[in-house]
């Protein structure tokens, strides 16, 4: 009780250097801008949003539409890039941060097929950054309006990011504490041998024990890295491990920006003096080009009671918000306990939970439409509506299967000019190399069910199908 009280008091009262937050702003903004440019140039907009005719949605976000016009689509991603640059520069920071959060989130919500945990993290961090005073030093805003300039901020603003990142690691680690991961080294047993052509390390990946080594290392890393990073003596070891671990994941998997995002976000844990040195180095470099940027001495009211400069949101107001935000972050990954059955199988409570790369799943879903009016019964050719990747992702995600069932019901209701079509699915899913089982009751008329937070009773538990066939 005592510890907690002191910590909460410290969050609002203690002044800490703004430098880590400034560095975070610059790194995160630049990385997001880079990510956005990469996305624009990769051809993915064409492939993921212009070519498909159908898009899966997140529950509650069905209203998010993919713009018809390629101009709007490219424009949206252009906004992402520009606003990310704005964040990095601290230029019209609040507007940039809001624009980035909205445009990036919208882009990620257009097709749930492309859900990635690390982009969810970007969305959360972007949301937090709207409220963080990250532009109050070494920024365009502070340059044009020196009155906002400050060297110190309440500890709260730094710790909020630390909590966010800590939560990600902890739950990613917790997700790995399961029988398959630790004792079958699944799915790394599948993924490692597929990378034997990696230079030098390839020889290692071939060894039958290698997946076990990597599984255990991965689980221990995720669970304990936050302890190392927050330890005054061991943070260097921790950050070195961050770099090694994430570069290793870069070598092994096709995970795009993820390693760089984590390497960059975790800089928030590096002690203040390195950030301050980096910023004064940056000032010196810039002062060669711009006489307006004067090297500033960081005032040392660190550790003293926090005093407000001008126009600051009161930390007393921000604290309850922070507690609420973090609580939601902690409850969300645990919500699966309210759904009977394995979250790895039914995926109820799977998303937004930092279950990063813990499963190798695949499946086949064959939909049948029955028209009671004409007596017709036929299978749907999924590829007529879905890309191969959408079909693959749908096959093991029940809410996607349900969305698609509704879509084809509406589609064929029009084609056949008939109401009351029945849509059922033969869907078999294999988890971590196991024999496949029916995921969904093949007799259920999916067009009669709506998505909700309630338990989906049309999802079968693995192996329970015997009685049904």
């Amino acid at each position: 009780m005592h510890i907690r009280k002191t910590y909460l008091r410290k969050l609002t009262m203690e002044s800490v250097s703004i430098a880590p937050l400034v560095v975070f702003r610059i790194l995160a903004g630049s990385l997001m801008a880079f990510g956005g440019i990469r996305f624009l140039l990769s051809g993915w907009i064409q492939k993921l949003y212009i070519e498909p005719d159908f898009f899966f949605k997140f529950y509650g976000f069905e209203w998010v539409r993919v713009p018809e016009s390629p101009w709007v689509l490219y424009g949206l991603h252009f906004v992402i890039v520009i606003s990310a640059i704005g964040v990095a520069l601290g230029w019209k920071y609040r507007i940039s941060a809001i624009a980035f959060f909205l445009s990036f989130s919208y882009a990620e919500f257009m097709d749930a097929t492309n859900y990635l945990n690390h982009y969810y993290l970007v969305i959360l961090v972007a949301f937090l950054m709207i409220f963080l005073p990250a532009n109050r030093n070494f920024s365009m805003d502070a340059l044009s309006n020196p009155s906002i300039q400050t060297d110190t901020i309440p500890r709260l603003y730094i710790d909020l990011l630390k909590w966010q990142i800590g939560i990600v690691y902890f739950f990613a680690g917790l997700a790995k504490v399961n029988w398959d991961w630790l004792f079958h080294a699944m799915p790394l047993s599948v993924w490692l041998p597929a990378r034997v052509d990696t230079p030098v390390l390839g020889v290692l990946f071939e060894q039958p024990w290698a997946p076990f080594l990597f599984s255990w290392f991965g689980a221990i890393y995720d669970l304990f890295i936050i302890l190392l990073l927050t330890n005054r003596k061991l943070w260097k070891v921790g950050y070195l491990l961050v770099i090694i671990f994430h570069l290793m994941t870069r070598v092994l998997f096709n995970i795009g920006m993820f390693p760089y995002i984590m390497i960059c976000f975790t800089t928030i844990f590096i002690p203040v003096k390195y950030h301050e040195e980096l910023i004064s180095w940056g000032r010196k470099r810039l002062s060669n080009y711009n006489h307006l940027i004067q090297p500033r001495r960081i005032k040392s009211n660190v550790g003293k009671r926090w005093t407000f400069p001008t126009s600051f949101a009161s930390p007393q107001w921000v604290l309850p918000f922070m507690i609420l935000f973090i609580s939601i972050q902690i409850i969300t990954p645990l919500r699966h306990v309210f759904y009977p059955g394995s979250v790895h199988w039914n995926e109820e409570g799977y998303r937004w939970s930092w279950r990063v790369m813990v499963l190798e799943k695949s499946g086949t879903a064959l939909f049948t439409v029955e028209d009671p009016l004409s007596g017709r019964k036929f299978e749907v050719e999924n590829s007529q509506f879905l890309t191969a990747y959408q079909e693959k992702q749908m096959a093991f995600q029940p809410d996607f299967i349900l969305q698609f069932a509704h879509f084809i019901k509406d589609y064929y209701a029009e084609v056949l000019d008939s109401e009351n079509l029945k849509v059922s699915v033969m869907s078999k899913v294999s988890v971590n190399g196991r024999k496949s089982h029916l995921l969904i009751d093949p007799h259920a008329d999916l067009s009669g069910y709506q998505n909700s937070w309630a338990k989906k009773h049309w999802i079968l538990s693995p192996g329970s199908e015997k009685s049904l066939l």
């Binding site: 630790l182 997946p211 302890l227 033969m426 024999k435």
Partner: protein
């Protein structure tokens, strides 16, 4: 410090909670198995003889066609018709091996794209075509099926086949197939065999991955093209008899059966150590979970059994015997699930013909 020990204890407890008392460490993707031996057997017992037989039947087909052209008669027409069937069946014995030289030469497009566009073929007959530009005209066995069999009576067939424009088109198509088959065999002789045998492991592009992807994709395509579309199972329950494979010669069901048999052979092998199943069985010897090796064998038998219930021509059965056709479609669907989901999962290889377009996590 206090917080940190508390955290550590919590984490250790959670790990213990995640454990239970099942069997010990076990890498279910790794097995001490002679992959090279398996691949060598598949080349020697299936791929090589398959292409050799294709080339032999095509060459005979060509001879029969020349003989027929020299002095058209109903007797020689019969011979031509039967060597057409032999060639088509021989193609069905290798169509599944669409990787390596066959992929490089785009063999599928020169041998078998169906259904063909009849009006386009007729138009090309009149306007002429560029035999080297593969994308511009219909070709392969389906075109020859049309040329030989589109008229009903032998007299009309002879008359149709001896038109100079048909002869030219016919020869172009046939010669191209012969040259592609020859080149594929040369490809295997000049290096590809070694490459195929030595590419072990489970990564994408290795031989095991090629074979399992080939088997899965081939079976899935056959289910769709040979049965799903003609029967109406995939087209609003409206049969399309004219979209059966080899519609004019009415050997559709025989071809379908041959495709299933070829798939089964790749899985079962001609002898022990000659098919993918041998590898699956070896993997499953270490695996305590539910096994799939025999289940796939049984599913092949179920499909073949369902084929026996249907009478050729398939183009008639799709509307006349819907019950048995539907049963066959169901049996093939079950096997698609086995081959596309269970087999790759058990062998720890990924289905590469459905690839990720962007990042994953």
């Amino acid at each position: 410090m206090k917080n940190q020990s508390l955290y550590s204890c919590l984490v250790v407890l959670l790990i213990l909670a995640g454990c239970d008392s099942k069997k010990g460490l076990n890498n279910q993707c790794s097995v001490d198995y002679d992959q090279k031996g398996l691949f060598e057997n598949i080349i020697k017992q299936q791929i090589q003889p398959g292409y050799e037989s294709l080339l032999t039947t095509l060459t005979k087909f060509k001879t029969d066609y020349s003989t027929f052209q020299a002095s058209p008669s109903t007797g020689l027409l019969d011979a031509l018709e039967s060597s057409f069937t032999d060639s088509y069946m021989a193609w069905k014995g290798v169509e599944i091996f669409g990787f390596g030289p066959a992929e490089k030469l785009d063999a599928q497009s020169y041998f078998n794209f169906f259904p063909i566009n009849i009006s386009l073929v007729e138009q090309q007959l009149d306007a002429g075509f560029d035999p080297d530009n593969s994308s511009l005209f219909d070709k392969g066995l389906p075109v020859l099926d049309y040329f030989i069999f589109n008229k009903a009576s032998p007299e009309d067939r002879i008359q149709y086949l001896t038109q100079p424009k048909v002869t030219e088109y016919f020869n172009q198509v046939l010669d191209k197939m012969i040259s592609v088959a020859t080149e594929i065999l040369a490809g295997y002789r000049n290096g590809y065999t070694d490459e195929f045998i030595s590419s072990t492991g489970t990564a994408a592009g290795t031989t095991l991955s090629l074979l399992i992807n080939a088997l899965s994709q081939y079976f899935e395509n056959n289910r769709r093209n040979q049965l799903g579309i003609p029967s109406g199972a995939l087209t609003l329950d409206i049969p399309n008899p004219d979209k059966t494979e080899a519609y004019y010669s009415s050997i559709s069901l025989a071809l379908l059966k041959k495709g299933v048999e070829t798939s089964r052979l790749l899985y079962e092998g001609k002898m022990k150590g000659g098919g993918i199943k041998d590898y699956v069985t070896a993997l499953e010897a270490n695996n305590s979970g539910e096994q799939i090796a025999n289940e796939i064998s049984n599913a092949f038998n179920t499909v073949l059994f369902a084929i026996e219930k249907i009478d050729e021509p398939l183009s008639r059965a799709v509307s006349g015997d819907r019950e048995h056709v539907a049963a066959l479609y169901r049996a093939m669907s079950d096997q698609v699930i086995h081959l596309k989901t269970d087999l790759p999962a058990r062998t720890c290889i990924s289905i590469t013909y459905v690839d990720n377009p962007s990042d994953t996590d």
